[in-house]
Structure formats: C-alpha cells, structure tokens
C-alpha cells in the first residue's frame, strides 16, 4: 500500500518536472546564500581564534606604557625584582609592496607557541638556537613565505601553518631590526606562577598599566557587528529563496488535490498521507539543501577573499582567504534547508490536512482570497507598527534588526493589497478594451505572483536601502577625508630621535608641522587612544565637529577641555559638558564630539601640553606637514633622500586618501555581491512563478485570442504585464528602501559601529535599479511570452473543446 501511495505522489513530479526543478532550485538558493554567509562568518571567527591560540593572546595579563613603548630599562628592573615577564615588540612593516605585522617575542621566556613545534614544508621544526642566533629565523604562512621568498635581505623563512596570515613571528632581536626599533618593547606579558614576595608593580613600574587578559582588544568582539550585518543579509537572501519554495509547494499541493481526494476515497487515511507528504518534503529539502551546500561552498570561496581584505583593512583582523568544509557548517545548512522548507510549506500542508474529502479539486482555490489579502494587510500593518515601536523604544543592535525585520516582512505582506488597489485604479482609468483587460487580468494573476513580487520588493528595498547607506557613507566619508586629511604630506620617522631631527630640518621650510602623537589608555568602554594636537588653524578650520560647546577649540588648546570621537560619545553616552576621566589625575570637560569613520575604537584629543603631562614619553614619529601643494612632491623626495626614508614613510595627501577610499570600497564588495545575488533570486522567483502559473494562463488568454487578438499581441502583453507588475513593485519598493536606508544609517550603524551618518538621496541610482528591474522582469517573462508566441492554435482550441 505504501509503495502504491508513494508511486501516486511521485507521479506528480514526473509530470511536472519543471516544478520539481523550481522547488529544488528554490531550496538550494535559499540554503546556498545563507550557508555561504555562515561559512564566511565561521571561517573568519575560526581565523581569529586560531590567531589568538597561535600567538597565546588573551591568555595572560600584559603591561603597557601609555606612550606605546616600554624602555628596556624598565623590563630589566622588573626582571631583577623577580617579576616573570616576557617582552614583545610588534608593529607593521612594509615588505615587497605588502604591509605585514611583525611580532617579535623573547623566545626563551614567552609561553610555548604552536609555531615552534608545528611546521609544514620544512624538514624539521625550527631549531631554537637558529631562532636566537644571527641571522635568526622568520616564521610565516606558506602564502606569505612565497610572497617574501624574493627578499634576499631577510633572514631565512620557516614555513608554518601555525602562525596567522600576514604576520611574521620571530625573535625580538630580529624584530628590532625589521621594525627598525632598537631597544624598544611594545608590551610585557606577565607570565603565570609569579614568585612570592615580589615588590608591587606600583612600586617598580608605576607608569606601566596592567591590562587584564579579558580586557585586551578582542578581534572577535570588534568584528561582531560586521558579522551580524552579514548574517542579516544572509537571512534576507534565505527569506527571498523561501518565497520560491512557498509558491511552488503551494501550487504543487493545489494541483494534487484531486489525487489526494481520490486516494482518500480509496481508503488512505489523511494522517498517513500527511506523513508521507512530510517524508517527501524532507527528502526534497535534503536534496535541495545538499545542492545549496555545494552552491554555498563555492560562493563563500569566491566571496571570502574580499571579506578577508575588508576585515584586515577595517579591523586588522587576521583571516585566511580560503574556505574549508566544516561538518558543523554542512549540518547547520541542511538544518536550515529542512526548517526553511517546512516553514514555507507548513501552511499548504496544514490546509491540505484539513481538506474535506468531498472538496473541489480546482487549482484556483489555492489562491489567496480577498479576505486573505485583508488579513495579510492587517498582519503586515501590525508588523510594521511593531517594528517601528521596537526601534523607538528598545536600544541595541538586535532591536535594530528586529525593527528592520518587522518593517520588511510587514511591507511584503501589505504589498498585494497595495498592488490590487493600484491595479483597480488603473483598470478604472483604462480606455480601450485591451488595456482594461490587461489591468483586470493582472489583478487576477496577482495572487499567483504575489510571493514572487514580495521577494522582488524585499530584494529591491534591500538594494535601495543598502545602496543609499553605502553611497551616503561614501559621500560623507569622502567629505570627511577632505576635511581631516588637510596636511599636504604625512611623514613617519623610524624613531623618536629621527622624528625630532626631521621636525628640526623641516621647521624653516614649511608652513606648519603638526605632530601626530598618541598614547593608548584604557577606558571602561575599551581601549582609548589619546592624541595631542598643537594650536593651528588646520584643526580649528577643518576638524569636523558633530556636537560642540562654545569655543571648543580654544578650551581644548588652553588645556581646559577634551574632544572625543563619536564612537566613544555614543558608547559611553558622553556629550559636550560631560567629564572624561583619562587617568587618576586627569579629568577634563568634553568640549566637542567629532566624527571618526572607519575607526573601531574610542579616541580623544587634548592639547600637546596635556598629552605630555599624561604620557611624557609619547613618541613623536609621525607628522602632518602643511606646505604649498606645488612644493609637496619635491619636499617629499627631499625628505626621503635626506633621512633615507622609504616611499611609504613619506606619503602625499592624495595617496592617503586613495588608500582610505580603496579600503572603504573593499568593505562593501561583499554587500554589493549579496545585493546582486538577492535581486537575481527575486528575478528567478518571478520566472518560476510565471512558469508554474502557465497551466492557468491558457483559459485566460484563449478567449481573448478567439475574439481577435493575435498570439504575437498576446505575447507582447504577457511581457508587458510582467514588466508593469515589476514596475509597480519597484515604485512601492522605493519608500520602503528609503525607510530601510534610514534604519541602517540612524539605527543599525550607530549600534554596530558607533557612528551616525547623514542620509543622501541618489535618484540616478534608483533610475538605474528601476531599469534593471524592468529588464529582469522582461527576461523572466520572456520564456512564457515566447511560449504564447509559439503556441499552436490546437492547444488554445483545447480550452474550448467540449470534451475538455
């Protein structure tokens, strides 16, 4: 009996192969896009964890000096006092056209590192004596080692998989040479098991700050917002894919009503049928899910290098550019495929299970009724209202996404109501009989297409919203860069001494020298970088303040106040007039808040005198140089020649801007790719809906053909119908997209990154998207239209046949 039922159920798919393909593709697309994002996130997080494990970060407390550098004497004093500390020197260096991080550790005292025992492509793990004696050894990933192999001046490279990407691990002595920072230490790691009776740190090194392991800058925490944004986009793509599944399953169930009725009449219980259909759906979900995993794997592989570049550029987070297949990821993907399929099919399955045995077998009844449309409208309105209510009353990133989710889902649900309203208005205004029929026919077709149109609405709104956010961000960022990067040249000296020499040499030749000096402090919200500035019109005229009290700069430069960046202001809820505690002795009034895009950490600005009070040893290695633009190139070359500085050590303003913009643009490559993919899925949803509705189209168009319209005219009208529906949806997507853009700019960005951006409008981009939408709709409708064009009259006549 079971076999007979299975045979009957499966016969539907044999006869409707396109429908089966559509269903599987829908599940595969939903699972694929979701899994790709999850794979990227998982890979990135695994990379952070690996890096942390490989370098023993976040395991031990450390000692830091506010100036950023610890003198060797201090280290010696601590060791002599009995403190078990290990020295680390780290910093960026540019080698062979690529910036890499160098981490030099004291190989004798630093906790055991996996890289010292696990290596690849080398005959043996590095010999500790080779590491310690000249010329020393550099440990690097195979990829970085390959990149560096032409650099003959470097010490021999030992290839290891146990170091993070883009990082050279070496002995601190070698690092001093590579970084050109002799006798300097970045931080001291406090080793476990300290001897008893050692003097207190406050006695031996009162100027050093002890940073607890848990409070150290955590890449995973910093990048959480970025990954949450990606997850949200993945979820949107998943939802759009599920619209295809929902539409296809709904139609398939409706078409099988006659078969179900017959099976029940022949003695099969509804319970048994529901179980068998559930098993069938499970099988389809697993097949579609498996296809989706393959798709997701390749998609993630294609997108990961850009994500890795973004994470490195934005947060300095180490991420491998290669994806690896994780069993948990595959299982989670299949779980999502199963969950999504049943979520999309639940309603249809429930309705089928409640179908009376004597009910009609018509396929029309699956369509939503007017009352169903009103119900959707009410639910949708409630979701939109709820979304706004959450957005206004609850703080936090999750609340922000709940608001966006509510608004988007609600808007999708109210779409059919508004489309029906618009179509009936157009129908009333139509003059000719064909126009009147086209509008009326679109209304009749709407229930079957509404899911695909909802998917299109979401994809378009996401495009407009995210596009507006990115373009607004870019416009603001470019303007901000123009304001912030006012110096014609930026110079980085090798050390403090050379910095002083450069400043002395430049003094008489330039309009102004603006030292860029900073120290890292600890604030309750995380690391706080404190900068000192000299009194110069460059700051007063160009530094963009988003909130300020009277005479903000005057007060800062007379040591009475401090400026803070927007990230710190929003995280700590500190605004002009509030007090900021910098350390035990220094608390200053906040005079203003400045925007500081792209920086994940808190920042504050005081006068140079204040900085010297707070951190007397702060290095003077970097400068902004004000000079007439026409002299900049010549002066840059003179500086390089005079002080033997590399090209990267003397950079002109345009180069810094170009580099910043390149990082910015790279950041949104993934978003743009997901945007295009989501729109593609929505276009595919329209195509599949039109194809699955095909069997119902003949009774609609045959009478009109019989009354004197040619098949060519009908084909053109099929195309026009699809394009008009897409156009109406696109028009409705515009306000939704703008609401989404506002939510992203004013809520999500503030919660995720700590900065609020002004919103700009980009009508040309909308026009481009509108044309793209019409094209997508025309492409989706091209196949059905071609079918109409080539339809044999015999097929149309079958509609009129008495024996039908």
């Amino acid at each position: 009996m079971t076999f007979a039922i299975v045979q009957a159920l499966l016969s539907h798919w044999r006869r409707h192969r396109l429908q089966l393909a559509t269903l599987l593709i829908g599940i595969a697309l939903a699972t694929g896009l979701w899994s790709a994002v999850q794979a990227i996130n998982a890979e990135a997080r695994a990379s952070y964890q690996r890096a942390s494990d490989q370098l023993a970060l976040g395991l031990y407390d450390t000692l830091r000096d506010p100036s950023g550098t610890i003198a060797v004497d201090r280290y010696v004093a601590l060791r002599r006092a009995g403190w078990q500390v290990s020295a680390v020197l780290e910093g960026p260096v540019r080698i062979a056209g690529r910036t890499v991080q160098v981490m030099g550790v004291d190989m004798v005292t630093y906790p055991a590192l996996p890289a010292m025992t696990q290596t690849e492509q080398s005959d043996a793990p590095p010999d500790p004596s080779d590491m310690l004696t000249a010329p020393g050894r550099l440990l690097a990933t195979p990829e970085l080692a390959e990149h560096l192999k032409s650099q003959t001046e470097l010490p021999p490279i030992v290839v290891s998989d146990a170091v993070p990407p883009d990082l050279i691990l070496t002995d601190i002595g070698v690092a001093e040479t590579l970084l050109n920072r002799p006798r300097q230490i970045s931080r001291l790691v406090i080793l476990p098991d300290q001897p008893r009776g050692v003097p207190a740190l406050s006695e031996i090194a009162p100027d050093l700050q002890r940073v607890e392991a848990s409070a150290q800058l955590d890449t995973q925490r910093l990048t959480d917002s970025f990954h949450l944004n990606l997850t949200a986009f993945g979820l949107l793509s998943f939802a759009v894919g599920l619209f295809i599944v929902n539409g296809t399953v709904g139609l398939a169930f409706a078409q099988r009503r006659a078969m179900i009725r017959t099976l029940r009449a022949l003695g099969v219980s509804m319970r048994r049928l529901v179980w068998m259909i559930t098993a069938e759906l499970t099988l389809l979900a697993l097949i579609g899910g498996a296809l989706g995993l393959v798709l997701g794997f390749f998609l993630a592989g294609a997108l990961l290098p850009d994500v890795a570049a973004t994470l490195r550029g934005l947060y300095g987070a180490p991420v491998d550019g290669q994806i690896s297949l994780q069993p948990e990821w595959a299982l989670a993907g299949l779980g999502m495929a199963l969950g999504g399929t049943f979520l999309a099919s639940g309603h249809a399955l429930f309705r089928l299970s409640r179908m009376p045995i004597l009910t009609g077998a018509g396929v029309q009844s699956w369509r939503s009724s007017t009352s169903g449309q009103r119900f959707s409208f009410l639910i949708g309105t409630a979701l939109i209202t709820g979304g706004f209510a959450i957005g206004y009353t609850v703080e936090g990133l999750v609340a922000g996404f709940a608001m966006v989710g509510g608004i988007l889902t609600g808007a999708a649900l109210v779409l059919p109501y508004f489309l029906t309203l618009a179509l009936s208005v157009f129908q009333r205004r139509a003059r000719g009989p064909v126009a009147q029929w086209v509008w009326a026919d679109m209304q009749a077709q709407l229930p079957g297409l509404s899911l695909a149109l909802m998917a299109l609405l979401l994809a378009l709104a996401a495009n407009i919203g995210v596009g507006t956010m990115v373009s607004s961000f870019r416009l603001t960022f470019v303007g901000w860069l123009d304001q912030r990067l006012t110096s014609e040249l930026y110079v980085t000296a090798r050390d403090d001494q050379q910095g002083k020499e450069i400043a002395q040499w430049l003094g008489p030749q330039v309009d102004a020298i603006l030292p860029i000096r900073n120290v890292e402090l600890t604030h309750e919200t995380g690391p706080l970088f404190l900068y000192g500035v000299v009194d110069h019109e460059t700051y007063r005229d160009h530094w963009p303040l988003i909130a300020s009290s009277d005479s903000a700069w005057d007060r800062v430069l007379t040591d009475q106040a401090v400026l803070i960046n927007e990230q710190l202001a929003r995280r700590a809820d500190l605004w002009p007039g509030d007090m900021l505690t910098l350390n035990a002795e220094h608390t200053l009034t906040i005079a203003g808040v400045y925007s500081d895009y792209g920086n994940p950490t808190g920042q504050a600005i005081v006068s140079m005198q204040q900085l010297d009070l707070i951190a007397p040893g702060a290095e003077t290695r970097q400068f902004g140089i004000r000079v007439s633009p026409e002299r900049a190139t010549e002066l840059a070359q003179a500086l390089r020649d005079r002080f033997d500085l590399s090209r990267q050590a003397v950079v002109q303003q345009a180069a810094v801007k170009a580099q910043s913009l390149a990082i910015f643009d790279n950041t949104f490559v993934v978003t743009s790719a997901l945007n295009v993919l989501t729109l593609g899925v929505a276009g595919f949803a329209i195509l599949t809906s039109l194809l699955t509705l095909w069997t119902q189209r003949l009774p609609q168009i045959a009478p009109v053909w019989a009354l004197g319209l040619t098949r060519a005219q009908l084909a053109r009208l099929e195309l026009l119908r699809s394009v008009l529906l897409a156009a109406l949806t696109a028009v409705l997507a515009l306000p939704l997209g703008l609401v989404l853009a506002w939510a992203l700019l004013a809520v999500i960005n503030v919660q995720a990154f700590g900065w609020r951006l002004p919103m700009f409008l980009f009508p040309v981009d909308w026009a481009y998207l509108f044309v793209l939408t019409l094209l997508a709709a025309a492409v989706a409708a091209a196949l059905p239209a071609l079918r109409v064009l080539r339809l044999p009259p015999a097929d149309l006549l079958r509609v009129f046949a008495n024996e039908r």
Binding site: P433, A440, A702, L707, P793, V799, F800, E803
Partner: protein, 215 residues
C-alpha cells in the same frame, strides 16, 4: 454567399484525417445546424470557419475573403470583425465584469453601440448583473453573457458550438430562444454545432457530419 467551405481537408497531428473534402455553404441570414457523433469533426469544422485553426487542403471563403492565404494577423482581424463565437464552456473572460465582457468584442472591433449593448443586457436578463464577475453567475446566466457578447458586435456570422450543452432543459430552451431571436433580428447567419435533433430542427437547414464527410 457569406460562408463557402470548399473541399476542406484536415488531419490531426499524427496524420489521422478528420475532415475529408468537406463542402458547405451558408447565405446571409441563414441558419444551419451541424450534427454528428462525438469526434466526427463538427467542432473542428466550426473552428476552421472561425479562422481559429488552419486546414490542410481546400478553401474556406468568409464574406468574400479566402482564409488560406491569411497570416495570424489577418485571421485575428477576421475574427474580430466578421464572426462571433459562442462555446459550450461559455469562455467568458474571468477577470472582467459581466458588463465589460458584454461589450468587449464590440469594443475590440471598434463597433461599440452602448444603446444596443444596454438593450441586449435588458433582453438577456443581465441588466442587474453587470457589475458581477462570471464566477458568480449560474451556467445559464454565463451563456447569456456569452451570447450578448457575440451579438453586441452585430456579427455577419455567429458560430455556436453546443451552446446549450452545459445547461439544463429549461435554461437550454431559454438560451436557444434568445439566440435565435437575436440572430433573426440582426440578420446574422448562424452555424450551430449540436448533438440534439430537436435543436437542429429549429434551424433553417441541417448538415450531418460522419466519417469526415457531410452526409
């Protein structure tokens, strides 16, 4: 002569002949019943006369126009302007109201006469149903709408395929009376396919189709 079917041949895909050298004529204002068994080719012949389908041999001339040289556009124009159709399944346009269905063909042919349409609606008992949709009408009501749509264009030739086949006896008699009276009043010719000898008997002439021939 309004309709001249001359030695028309038609085969189904696969080569099985359904019409073999069928010839038939119909004058202006004349009514003709075409009878025959199921599958004898009655509907096929009607479809050929309505320029809905093409034939393999012979010629059909409608109001002086030979159908075989016509392309898709020419056939569509002929259907729009010269013939009206009534089917057993009614084949109304489900997305349009009764009123819009009634005037649809006449408007397509640019021959809308609102007075005549209103008169038709009144006479067919549809005046109170004009804003309803076909799905809300009974079978008899739907067929009256189909007849109204066909007659609103004042066709020269009305082609009806089992127009009462889906109706009960009372509705069937009612619909046929209305159709015949409207045909007589407008001077249209009528070619009606039917199984019923009673209905056939009410028309001017009868032709019986069997084995692909008129007998």
């Amino acid at each position: 002569m309004l309709l001249n079917i001359d030695k028309v041949q038609k085969s189904y895909p696969g080569g099985r002949p359904v019409l073999r050298d069928v010839s038939l004529t119909l004058d202006h204002g004349q009514t003709l019943a075409l009878t025959g068994e199921s599958g004898s080719g009655k509907s096929t012949l009607l479809n050929l006369a309505a320029a809905l389908d093409s034939f393999d041999g012979g010629e059909i001339t409608l109001d002086g126009t030979a159908l075989s040289p016509l392309d898709d556009r020419g056939r569509a124009a002929l259907r729009r302007q010269s013939v009206s159709l009534v089917f057993q399944q009614f084949n109304l346009i489900p997305s349009l109201t009764v009123g819009q269905n009634l005037s649809f063909h006449a408007r397509l042919a640019n021959r809308e006469d609102t007075g005549w349409s209103a008169q038709l609606a009144e006479r067919l008992g549809l005046a109170d149903l004009l804003t309803r949709y076909p799905e809300n009408l009974s079978g008899g009501q739907q067929q009256r709408v189909a007849i109204g749509r066909a007659m609103a264009v004042r066709p020269k030739l009305l082609l009806a395929d089992e127009p009462t086949g889906n109706l009960d006896e009372t509705a069937s008699a009612n619909v046929l009376d209305l159709m015949l009276s409207l045909v007589a009043e407008t001077g249209a010719a009528l070619l009606l396919v039917t199984h019923s000898q009673d209905i056939a008997a009410r028309l001017d002439r009868q032709a019986h189709l069997a084995g692909g021939h008129i007998v």
